[in-house]
Each structure stands twice: as C-alpha cells, then as structure tokens.
C-alpha cells in the first residue's frame, strides 16, 4: 500500500490543538485529569491538545509541526502510529512518576519525542550534518536538565513545567526511532527532504 508523503497526521493534530482553544471551557472537558482519567480514557489523547495560553500553544505547535512534519515525510507510517500510542503512554508516565500532578496539558511531550526521533534518524544518515543533529539532541537534554533543576523552585505564572513529560517524550522518541530503523533495512534509503 502506498503511503502518502503529505504529513496530514501532524497537520490534523496541530489543527485539533488550535481548535481546542476555540470554545470557552472546552479545556475542562479535554484536559488530562488524574481524578477522572480512568473513567474518561479519551483524556489521555485530548489532554495533549489542550494549552493554557496562546504562547504555550504557539511554541508547542511550532516545534511539533516542524519536527513532526519532517519526520512524517520520512517515515509516515511510524509517525502516524506514534501519534496514536505515545499520548497515553506519556500521560500515564507523568501520573505514575509525578504524584503531585492532578492535571496535565500540552503537546510538548509528544513534540519532544518527535524531535528526538528525527535527530536520531538524521544522525544515522550519511548525507546529513551530524553536528547539527547532535546539537538538536543536546538542546533537548539541556531543556530537560534545566526544567528538572529549576522547575520546582519557581512560582510559575502559567503552570508548573513537568520535566517528566519531556523525559517520557524523549524515551518514546527513542522507541519511535527503533521502529523506523527496524522498518528500513538501510536508513540511507529514506527519502530526502528539502
């Protein structure tokens, strides 16, 4: 079966995230909430679409769109499957590790996974710039370290940053990379982008 190279799944998720801010009070029905998550399982997917401010949404969509779109053009099937299994896995990891968190919102855990998977995929391709993709991985590591060290000490204006989301996203990204690497006999066979 021929798989479309157009990153429609990434676009669809980005559009859903934008639409989740369209109606007043929609967030309450969509956000990932520990107290009701087991009875309302959809929140494990929809919680990632909810954002607390336009700035929160904008920066998350920018990273998600760029990394997700790029990787979906390289490995469409793996990325589309990732968008199905990663949200509940990341959500469950957050609730399991961070017992204080009652509500979670934001696309960046999933986006972090896509960035990690894209960087790992590109690092294994001969025609790509390795220092640049290594720098992308380094940036993800710096962000997680910074949030882990400073996040709990800051009276944040919007909400508490959850480093667990990015750590879980990073691990999910490594698993996604494993899928991509397994499906392709040679990563050099991946189609060029750009």
């Amino acid at each position: 079966m021929k798989i479309s190279p157009v990153p429609w799944a990434t676009l669809l998720v980005a559009l859903a995230a934008v639409l989740s801010r369209a109606g007043p009070g929609w967030e309450d029905g969509l956000v990932l909430e520990r107290a009701v998550a087991s009875a309302q399982g959809w929140r494990f997917w929809t919680g990632h679409l909810v954002h607390v401010s336009s700035g929160h949404l904008g920066w998350n969509i920018a990273v998600f769109g760029a990394a997700g779109g790029w990787l979906e053009m390289l490995a469409p099937r793996a990325v589309r499957l990732y968008l199905l299994w990663a949200p509940p896995v990341i959500g469950a990891a957050i609730f399991a590790v961070d017992q204080e968190i009652g509500r979670y919102a934001g696309l960046s855990g999933i986006a972090a996974g896509l960035v990690v998977a894209l960087a790992l995929t590109q690092l294994t391709r001969r025609e790509e710039s390795r220092p640049l993709w290594a720098a992308v991985l380094g940036l993800v590591a710096v962000k997680i370290l910074y949030e882990t060290m400073s996040g709990s000490a800051v009276l944040t204006e919007g909400f508490r940053p959850v480093p667990t989301a990015h750590i879980a996203g990073g691990i999910a990204g490594c698993i996604l990379f494993g899928f991509i690497a397994r499906r392709r006999r040679s990563l050099a066979d991946l189609p060029p982008v750009g």
Binding site: W59, V63, E127, L139, R160, A165, G194
Partner: protein, 266 residues
C-alpha cells in the same frame, strides 16, 4: 454661612491596629514562609475605626466593600498558581483580632494567604467666592460655591498566615476634586467617596500586579541560603509540557540550518 477654614472628615482602618492591638512595636516573626501551590487566598477589609470630623459620613457599606474586593479577586483569579480567592466579609474580622482571628479564618475558610486591605479617606469642603451668592438663599441652589476634595488611600498587605510573615504590600491612591452648590454638598461628597474608593481600587490592582511580579522574581532569584519563601506543591497541582520560546527557537533554528545544509549539499 461662610467659613474660612475647610470642614474635614476622615475615615480609616489600620492593619497594624488589627494585627498588633495594644502593641507599640509589631513583632517580626523570623522564619521562611512555605507557600503551598496552588494558593488559597482570602481578601478582606480590616475593621474600620469610627469616622472623625464634622462632615456627614460618606463611608463605604459592606456591599460596596464586597464589590471592590470582588474586583481585586477577579483580577487574580485566572492565575494558575492560585486555586481560589475568597472575598471575606468584614463580619469575620474582629477589631484588634490579630493573628488569632486570622488563624480562625484559616480554619473556617481554608485560606493560607490573606490580603488585608486598609483604607484612609479624608474629605474636605470649603466655600469659594461664589458662595457669596448663598446669602440670597436661591444662590445656595444655583451657584457652585463649595469646593470638595476627597483623598483616598488603600493599602493591601499580603500575609502568609501560618508563618505570620508579610510577603509584600501595595498601595492604591486617588484624588477626586469637585465643586457643588451648598445644598448638594452631602450628596456630592458621598458620590466622591465612592468614586475615590473605585479609583483607588484601580490603582491598587495595578500596583498589586506589579508587586506580585516583583515578589515572584525575588522568590526565583533569592540565594539558596537565604530564600524569600519556600515553594511546595499540593497534590493535584496543574502542570504542563511547554516547549518554551528559547527551546522552540533553538530547535527551529537548528532544523532550518539542517535544511539549508541539506540543500547546499545536494
């Protein structure tokens, strides 16, 4: 009928009189306040002293106090680190009730932080040259021979009840100038009193916002060995995954460079 000296009236309340009744020097409690996020906040006017002066008392009713505090509360309700803001009626506070009274509020209303608002309002009225027309009796109805001034000061202090520590404070001031006929003086002063409280509340909200931002910065930047406040989080606190501007900017720049590099190499 004509007077040279202005007539004056003053209404006020004092946080110091409420928290430290009968003490000349307030006791400063050492220790670092522990703020458990999200915060549960109460906001209240401290009980007022009796008004002084010769003018009819304009004053401010409980309902009006509640409306003003409601405006302050609404301004800060949206913040994610605030779980709730309760407007506490003055009837819950005793004159000179002190921290014992605040402890009762803490138990009764489940608030950890209290914003105590005190006020001082002074009103003057003085006849100007047009008041000569008051001798005609009809002139007392037609000519604005009275100049009325209303000066209002609101002062909000934010206390952490368990540690009895002052976190920050902010003032709000207003000045209302007006002229009126002699028969309108009472009515105009009462309106100016309310308007003065309203304008001072606007100023108070602005100043509270900037003081809150400054306090957040102080908490964030305080040295580890001398913290301004310790932050803990209650179970159930909201959290989120945020790419943030610097990370998103960095990733986008690197992806852009990678794309550029790829095209050049091709």
């Amino acid at each position: 009928m004509l007077r040279d000296s202005p007539r004056r009236s003053e209404r006020s309340s004092s946080v110091v009189d409420f928290l430290y009744p009968g003490q000349t020097e307030p006791v400063v409690t050492p220790g670092v306040p522990v703020l458990r996020l999200p915060l549960r906040v109460g906001v209240a006017f401290v009980p007022a002293a009796a008004s002084r002066g010769v003018l009819p008392s304009g004053g401010i009713s409980e309902q009006q106090k509640s409306l003003l505090l409601g405006r302050v509360a609404n301004e800060f309700k949206g913040r994610q680190f605030i779980q709730s803001i309760e407007v506490i009626p003055s009837t819950y506070l005793r004159p000179g009730g002190g921290f014992g009274n605040l402890d009762q509020l803490r138990g009764l209303l489940s608030v950890d932080i209290v914003v105590l608002v005190s006020f001082d309002q002074v009103q003057f009225t003085q006849e100007n040259k047009l008041s000569l027309a008051y001798w005609t009796v009809v002139g007392a109805y037609l000519f604005k021979g009275n100049r009325n001034d209303t000066h209002t000061l609101l002062e909000a202090v934010v206390y952490d009840i368990p540690s009895r520590r002052l976190l920050f404070r902010a003032p709000g001031v207003s000045e209302v100038r007006d002229t009126s006929t002699m028969v309108e003086v009472r009515e105009r002063l009462r309106a100016a009193s309310l308007s003065g409280f309203g304008l001072a509340t606007d100023d108070l909200i602005r100043n509270l916002t900037s003081e809150l931002t400054a306090f957040q910065e102080k908490v964030k930047n305080a040295a580890a060995d001398s913290p301004v406040a310790r932050i803990e989080r209650r179970p159930g606190y909201s959290g989120g995954g945020a790419a943030g501007s610097w990370f998103a900017g960095g990733v986008l720049a690197l992806l852009g460079l990678a794309l550029f590099w790829r095209r050049r190499a091709a």
